[in-house]
Point group: C2
Chain length 430, copies 2
């Protein structure tokens, strides 16, 4: 397995602003549409997007076992299937090519013209074809808040919650990339006090501040992935807004779980940040008491210190940061989620996505959803522009950001942004 | 839109046994591996599989707008994307080619050698790449039985059940075709009376007798499919065994629904029977009281009279039919399921699969799962070979069959079969 190169002092010959999420130590992977309307796989340094398909054709990945068209694809799935050793070789090579001291590409204007794009001239795409998407529910604070609101504050956590990284299947077909607008859903809800439902626009559209990880092929059908091997099958992470319609959810979710309340849309950030890039930010996860069953037990540091925030921007108004949280609050780790998911033999493929669940911190200003921040509508938030918000209103834009910072090194995820459009109006039949 | 040809008196020049599921009026679609190890799309008449890729290359589909490689693929997804008009043209043309009176192919020994296979020399594959899989819970009898066992017999149906075709997302990566063995899953369960879970093999592996339908691209993200258009987006149906681990399910499913209890494996029959083939067997679905909300209201006949049965065959023993049910018992129709699924704008793609939920009839010998048939283990079934069964034992084979019959015409689905293997034994580390 090749060494990771994460030298915090390393410099690049590309311009990178001091607070950029994308220094040469990041090297995330994504898919974009170039100025010539070609879809390619790329990476990003500072405010430059780099066409890896073009770099490969020019011979810059010589010596790394890659098929000729591995980066000339509209998803990362095949590259992810190549496995951890290959991802690391490619990431390290990109680090070399853009090193300040390396003139190979730096001094070739003809090559740079083909390989480099400014972020303004490209359009980010969904980076993977997501085969299956699973969402967990792994923040103890979030589960406790929801249990307190919807059930009994004395028994807020379900009896299984401290034993199982509770999860459920979501919808892959409606996962969209940052910037894609989202429609307020129509649906059935039960008005307070009523005993029959009504149909109409959801009145309680919410965000859920989450992160998600993307896997490679991990196992054969029927074979579990042990918890201490699970991280080898994680390609990287993205920011994730699991849009939710709370009123639809409340009426539909017993006994089989959330369905239409969640599957109208889910948004991810376009750059997948690799586990290698996140390595310097490893921290211990919260202590687990009771001790989990042996197939879920881990030692050492298995989570990451990732600062997160959510901003709401009403139409023609100014943005307000409504919460600041951190990925490190999660009770269950990604490795535990993956080990649990496969303990029954469930097959994990390249391009599957596993969401963390809402990431709520211990304090009311670190909660990961409007449901919790405005406590079921009872404590509306006052925004900077003077607006009040209990849930998300039409034409509000929700933006999530995330980054790690330590010893002068900052690795970030950029953002995932989505505007909530009014409900769909069918064309009148004439 | 071309006419459907379902003449019950039509004969074919291929041999077809009197009780065959696959007369010339069926013409299902599937994917198989030929004797030359090539994957192709095909159909079946009697005990012959027909290579549609070869037929197309020989010009038999002339005049129908099809790309050259539409049948030379390892899934039906692209063909399904071509839409209902094209499926009907192709199915009608196949009916003409194999009509007893038509000598075009019948009298060409050289062509027949390339096009025809006996069922013994081919190997059926999964017919579609399933993007998203949703399972419903649409049998009132099943929901009532489960509610009676697990909750309160007086309030067996949840308040939402008569208003919503309740559904939830399942796992696509573990859907397998008939014949694929299935492993008994390991998992967490809560022993009776205990307050902490244990880890081990599931002791309550069950089948669920279901059917499922396969869709074509139905809508743009954010746009609902009206209930009276929904059937246009259904390509066809298969038999479906939604393997379930009842003890894992009981411990994990509150509050987010079944997860590891279901996603270890689900089996489908390999031939997709088209809605056109099923047209003669349309019947009215059970009356719905209370009347559903307008977006779910339908008139006329929107379900199908499909006889179903499940057989258990222990290792080295004889088969026993343990239940006989019928698809027509389902309370919610496929069109209602699809309209509900998309009412919030959820996107439906070609190759998505929507399961009916367990199909239980009104009588105890028509229940669709061992959970109900043996009433939570309290009334084990006695099999023909003398074995007793409360749930499925290691090395039992479960076989489901389904067919329609009316006025001398029989259209069937063949079978979906799966053997339950003992739990996976990891190799010892040396």
């Amino acid at each position: 397995m090749p060494k990771i190169t994460n030298d915090p002092d390393k410099k690049t010959w590309l311009p990178v602003k001091v607070d950029s999420d994308f220094p040469i130590q990041n090297i995330p992977f994504g898919v974009f549409l170039t100025r010539d309307d070609i879809v390619t796989i790329g990476t990003r340094i500072g405010d430059h997007a780099i066409d890896l398909g073009a770099l490969h054709q020019l011979g810059y990945f010589e010596g790394i076992p890659l098929t000729d068209d591995i980066f000339l694809q509209d998803t990362l799935n095949d590259f992810i299937s190549d496995g951890k050793k290959t991802w690391r070789l490619v990431r390290n090579r990109i680090g070399e090519i853009f090193d300040a001291e390396n003139g190979t590409l730096r001094d070739r204007e003809d090559h740079k013209k083909i390989v480099l794009f400014s972020m303004e001239e490209i359009e980010m795409q969904l980076p993977v074809q997501i085969g299956d998407y699973t969402d967990f529910y792994s923040s103890k604070e979030h589960a406790t808040n929801v249990g307190t609101m919807f059930r009994d504050p004395e028994k807020a956590l379900m009896p299984n919650w401290l034993h199982i990284p509770v999860g459920y299947h979501g919808r892959s077909s409606t996962i969209v990339t940052s910037g894609t607008p989202v429609r307020r859903p129509m649906g059935q809800t039960l008005p307070p006090g009523a005993d029959t439902p009504v149909f109409g626009p959801s009145k309680r559209v919410d965000f859920e501040l989450e992160m998600a990880f993307i896997t490679t092929d991990a196992n054969a059908l029927g074979e579990p992935v042990p918890v201490d091997e699970a991280e080898d099958y994680i390609f990287g992470m993205v920011l994730f807004n699991d849009w939710s319609a709370r009123d639809i959810q409340k009426w539909e979710y017993v006994p089989l779980g959330p369905f239409l309340a969640k599957n109208f849309a889910s948004s991810i950030s376009p750059w997948i940040v690799t586990m290698d890039a996140l390595a310097p930010f490893r921290v211990k996860s919260p202590p687990q008491d009771p001790k989990p069953l042996p197939y879920l037990q881990q030692k050492e540091k298995h989570t990451f210190d990732i600062h997160l925030e959510v901003e709401i921007t009403p139409e023609n108004s100014v943005p307000t940061v409504v919460t600041k949280s951190n990925f490190k609050y999660m009770y269950w780790t990604m490795a535990q989620q993956l080990a649990h998911h496969t303990v029954n033999g469930c097959k994990i493929n390249s391009g599957d996505m596993l969401g963390s669940g809402t990431i709520s911190g211990p304090h009311p200003d670190s909660y990961g959803s409007m449901l919790e921040l405005a406590w079921q509508g009872t404590k509306p938030l006052e925004l900077t522009g003077g607006e009040k918000r209990a849930f998300i209103e039409d034409n509000d834009t929700v933006t999530m950001r995330g980054y790690c910072e330590k010893g002068g090194l900052r690795i970030g995820f950029g953002e995932v942004k989505g505007k909530l459009l009014p409900v769909f109006q069918p064309k009148k039949k004439s």
